[in-house]
């Protein structure tokens, strides 16, 4: 079954007097439980494609389908609902809420989802253990290392078991050891929970974990190959 389908996506940005084609007739299908890396040099269009799949940005033309629902025609509210219930985001810069503790950062999204307090507490502690952060639940982001913060961000993204996780340069600020640990975690989630991962990266180490590697250049897909994951 297809988790994500993009059909002939085009997106142009205006930068000064120049039009930049971030997506140039991009079409791609990603199967459920897929583990896909989008690789491109800076400005190649991978983040724009990721944002379009997540409903954060609208393409100028083309269609975006997530879980058999066309999202490029959805309202802001419908997109928010979709992201809340079905999509987890992991960002390069962790993007945790600085005034909340690790546990509160994770519970915040669940509270918005309407998860009861007791269940929130149980799930947040369980996911923190799963990402190896037991005992750090009461620390605020400023009191944690980059790797720990990224783990909290991942925990926040996956705590509600979304069908799709979109990660934009998740290892850019991590050392190699932490990057490997993070990718191992992603791989396990992909295997055990059938979570679909779409990761935008130009980190060769990350690409080794992908089952499928999609290379982009100037807003186009130039290569799409299946590979044996690490």
């Amino acid at each position: 079954m297809t988790a994500v389908r993009c059909v002939d996506l085009c997106k142009t940005y205006r930068q000064g007097d120049e039009d930049i084609k971030a997506l140039d007739h991009v079409s791609i299908d990603i199967e459920e439980a897929g583990f896909v890396c989008l690789s491109a040099p800076s400005g190649g269009g991978k983040t724009t494609l990721l944002n379009a799949i997540g409903g954060l940005d609208m393409p100028d033309s083309g269609e975006v389908w997530v879980a058999d629902r066309r999202i490029d025609q959805m309202s802001k509210g419908e997109l928010a609902e979709l992201r809340l219930s079905s999509i987890g985001f992991v960002f390069q810069a962790y993007n945790l809420i600085p005034v909340l503790t690790a546990r509160e950062n994770i519970e915040f999204v669940m509270q918005v989802q309407g998860v009861p307090a007791k269940q929130r507490a149980e799930q947040s502690l369980a996911i923190l253990e799963e990402v190896g952060l037991s005992g750090l639940e009461d620390r605020r982001p400023a009191e944690m290392s980059g790797g720990q913060q990224q783990r909290v961000a991942v925990a926040r993204a996956i705590v509600s078991r979304p069908a799709l996780v979109l990660a934009d340069e998740p290892t850019a600020n991590l050392d190699s050891k932490t990057s490997d640990e993070l990718m191992t975690l992603f791989t396990e989630l992909n295997r055990h929970h059938n979570t679909t991962f779409v990761i935008a990266t130009h980190d060769q180490r990350v690409m080794r974990y992908a089952k499928r590697l999609v290379r982009m250049l100037d807003g186009r897909i130039v290569d799409d190959i299946a590979q044996d994951a690490a």
Binding site: N51, L56, D57, K76, L84, N95, V99, V112
Partner: protein
Amino acid sequence: MNIVARLAWRNLWRHRRRTWLTVGAMVFSNTLLVFMISMQFGMYDLMIDNTLKVFTGHMQVQAPGYKDDQKMRQTVPDIVPLAGRLRAEFPTEKIAARGWAFALASSEERSYGVGIFGVEPEYEPQVSSIPGLIAEGRYLQQSDAPEIVIGAVLARNLRVGIGDELTLLGSGRDGSFAAAVATVVGIFESGVPDVDRSFAQMPIVAFQDVFFMEGAGHQVVISAPTLEEAERILPDIDAALPSDEGLVMHDWDALQPGLKQAIKADMSSAFFMYGILVVLVAFSVLNTQLMSVLERTHEFGIVMSLGLKPGQLGRLVMLETAMLGLIGFVLGAIGGVIVTSYFSANGLSIPGMEEMAANFNLPPRIYFQATPWTMAIGPFVVFVFTLLAAVYPALRLHKLHPVEAMRVN
């Protein structure tokens, strides 16, 4: 406390100094509003009390139509016994009977028109400040003595002093010619030239004899300990009046309509000034919350990408503002209550006020009105405007686009 509330609370304290400055502005304005409003209403009480104490009283019993067209023949029958009966029935109220007539007062040298009040010498000092303003001689003592007290300006105009005689000429109740001679026993000085020029008082029994009143008079004046007591007791006194004579009760508002208008006019200008103060505080909150929203644009982009709707973010901003406003409300109200309670108990004397009040035989201090209304209305309005000030920053979030927001650093 749930996480959204915790988040709102902690967001408030990201910039402690800025938050405290905004709270400080709210506390200052709330305390000031409580102080000013309580003082203002205390002054109104004093103003009403002082005005009514001079002569009018809190309420009066009159014949129907007398208030609007004061004719001699519109009388309250057996007025002295009626006043006595009411005094017995309502011992906490101060009650006195009066009659009124117009006469030409002549000394050996001059004549002037004067309004003459027939009063009960024993009870008039309880309902009027004029007996306490005798500058020369003494006040009236016996109900039937041919005595008169006159204003200082009238005494000067007539060129009379204590012990001199005045001839009074006027019309009696039945339209007949009324004439009498009365000895000036006192000269009062109210400080109001009109009063001192045109009023005189004589004992009510003597008055009734001169003007052929046959025991009747024109007003039973009633003064209550407080305005609230006056409003409360009015229906009871009204019910105690003889039902067959069609007598009417007038409260102070009907007797002194200009007083309420003056208070309303003063209130309008005062509330305009308070409005400016509240708007200034609201702009301070708007500035704080707008800055707070703008500097968190990136963070808002993140939480929107996690699935929060702009409306939910707007509610978060409103919650933060409500917390901010509540701190200002509570601290400001506490400050206001402390200040107001002190001045409510001890009163406030404005320089020169005590001397002036002594001249007019009036209370020398303003006692603040410390009621839940005077102490809560100011802070409550500030709180409401604080919330309104947050509407614009909250609405701005509806225009936020997650990707663009996340690009902001």
